[in-house]
């Protein structure tokens, strides 16, 4: 079970949360302008990376708020969580930063 740091409530066990898929997929501003391929990309196609992933979680059994996380899908380690609405971080920099701080210790 993962320990997840809700940006509002702090660290809580995974079972308090609900996963909500890849983050930063913005709803199109002008939906009628999209062609079919763009709709497929928005609705169905996902990065699904083996490595660092930005994803949404919802603290459903806590504050009930959505937030985002940077997680390594190989180790399942979460490098950062941040409030919804914040820009997408540079995931490699985030992970490198955490690892560098760790090796200093």
């Amino acid at each position: 079970m993962l320990l997840i740091a809700c940006p509002y409530c702090g660290e809580r066990p995974e079972t308090e949360f609900r996963y909500a898929g890849e983050a930063h997929i913005a709803r199109p501003h002008d939906p009628s302008a999209l062609n079919d391929d763009e709709w497929v990309d928005f609705l169905y196609q996902r990065a699904n990376p083996k490595g660092l992933h930005v994803e949404r979680w919802r603290h459903i059994h806590g504050c009930a708020r959505f937030f985002n996380a940077v997680r390594d899908t190989v180790s399942d380690r979460i490098f950062k969580t941040y409030e919804a609405g914040e820009p997408r971080p540079d995931v490699n920099a985030v992970a490198a930063d955490v690892l560098a701080k760790e090796s200093e210790r």
């Binding site: 079970m1 993962l2 995974e14 079972t15 949360f17 609900r18 996963y19 898929g21 079919d36 391929d37 709709w39 497929v40 990309d41 609705l43 169905y44 196609q45 996902r46 990065a47 699904n48 990376p49 083996k50 992933h53 994803e55 997680r71 899908t73 190989v74 180790s75 399942d76």
Partner: protein
């Protein structure tokens, strides 16, 4: 190929089993092939076999990054059935069951296909309505599936608890008698041995790290940990790693990869006659010929390539197993493990062409593709060899998401099956 038979077994026994040959060669890759299959699971090995056998292609390679069947093929709970709702799915899965029925003879390899019946438990009014709808749809498609009352289900599977006091009482069940289980490793090994005998090069410890495309966009070959290997026809059959491979060719996929886990108990004498599954309370169980209870759990909530699932997921399944089969409450579990399953938005597979000329894909089998192995391999071989889908896999395109032609088994059974 050294033929297996009762006679060869006796002869080898008399000479102390010293005369068995390796079941397939260990070749170094050639500079190029007529077709390359990426992924040495049952689907990939089977596709190579049918390409060699039915389409006359002789110069074929299967590239596997680890060992044969080390992916989901060797990690699954081997439930085989074909009672899916939609016409397209019923045709595909029943094609597979028909091939399963003759597979041991076809491959001269005992895949231990055992049609002991698959019992799907209904716990709610919704389950009852949905199962009955499946049964009627299946009958129209010539696929066997029948409705049992709770008492009839208990008669078919005596360990089943049907007491009305359960948290989720069993109110009935759907039974597919032609369903059952098979030996997962044997499926990979049997196809590998038969494909090798037809000249297919099976190359293990060979990870594909890139897909090379020419100026016209068509594939030219693959970069691997054993160097570049050329081919104008590449079939990707890499289950949970499909998104990673397709990204190498610049193709985004409607897939997400999740860990799915299974566990086995200590071995005991034969106590369990069939396969029982409950999608509603997440429990899948059968007994292997070794005597272990083979138990399937659900997927984790989040995408991952970690090949292990969370403990609370397995615990949840064991809760359900103990409730359904109180006599297993004191069984000890020996091992558990996970595999990475690639899930599509409609829970149906994708088998067909891609936007890249020469690149074909077989994926999206999610939590339920072992049962389809021979059928999927057979139609994927047709697709790679002829460049066009077989009529059975024609509806399972990548474009169906764009064209709104989903085969929405998700609504019917959105969990492991």
């Amino acid at each position: 190929m050294q033929k297996f038979s009762g006679f060869s077994l006796i002869r080898q026994a008399l000479s102390g089993h010293q005369g068995w040959q390796a079941q397939w060669r260990t070749p170094e890759p050639k500079a190029s092939y007529d077709a390359i299959v990426v992924g040495g699971g049952g689907h990939g090995l089977g596709a190579a076999y049918y390409m060699a056998k039915e389409h006359g292609l002789k110069n074929i390679a299967v590239l596997e990054r680890g060992w044969l069947g080390g992916g989901n093929t060797g990690r699954n709970t081997t439930i085989i059935r074909s009672n899916y709702l939609f016409d397209e799915s019923a045709a595909l899965f029943d094609h597979a069951v028909k091939l399963w029925e003759g597979l041991s003879q076809e491959l001269n390899y005992n895949v231990m296909f055992s049609q002991r019946g698959v019992l799907m438990l209904a716990h709610t009014v919704h389950d009852v309505q949905s199962f009955k709808r499946h049964i009627h749809a299946n009958r129209l498609n010539g696929v066997d599936n029948e409705w049992l009352s709770a008492e009839e289900a208990k008669e078919f599977c005596p360990p089943l608890n049907i007491s009305p006091g359960m948290r989720y009482p069993v109110v009935g069940a759907a039974l597919q008698r032609r369903g059952g289980v098979a030996r997962h490793d044997a499926v990979a090994w049997g196809y590998a041995r038969a494909a090798d005998a037809l000249g297919v090069d099976i190359i293990q410890n060979c990870e594909v790290t890139g897909i090379r495309r020419g100026v016209n966009g068509a594939v030219e070959g693959v970069e691997t940990t054993k160097g570049f290997i050329g081919s104008k026809r590449i079939g990707v059959s890499a289950a949970g790693h499909t998104s990673v491979l397709m990204a190498m060719a610049g193709v985004r996929m409607p897939l997400e990869s999740y860990p799915l886990q299974a566990l086995v108990s200590e071995p005991v004498k034969p106590v369990f006659p069939c396969v029982v599954m409950s999608n509603t309370i997440h429990a899948y169980i059968s007994q292997s010929d070794k005597g272990e209870l083979v138990i399937g759990a659900g997927t984790d909530a989040y995408t991952s390539y970690s090949q292990r699932g969370a403990l609370h997921i397995a615990t949840h399944t064991l809760d359900a197993i103990c409730e359904l089969f109180p006599m297993f409450r004191r069984m000890r579990m020996l091992r558990n493990w996970g595999g990475i399953v690639d899930v599509t938005p409609d829970r149906s597979p994708i088998i067909g062409k891609t936007p890249v000329p020469g690149l074909f894909v077989n994926c999206g089998w999610g939590t339920g593709g072992f049962k389809a192995t021979p059928g999927s391999a057979h139609v994927f071989a047709h697709t790679i060899a002829t460049g066009e889908p077989h009529k059975i896999n024609a509806p399972f395109t990548l474009e169906r998401f764009r064209d709104g032609l989903m085969i929405d088994e998700a609504a019917a059974a959105a969990v492991a099956h």
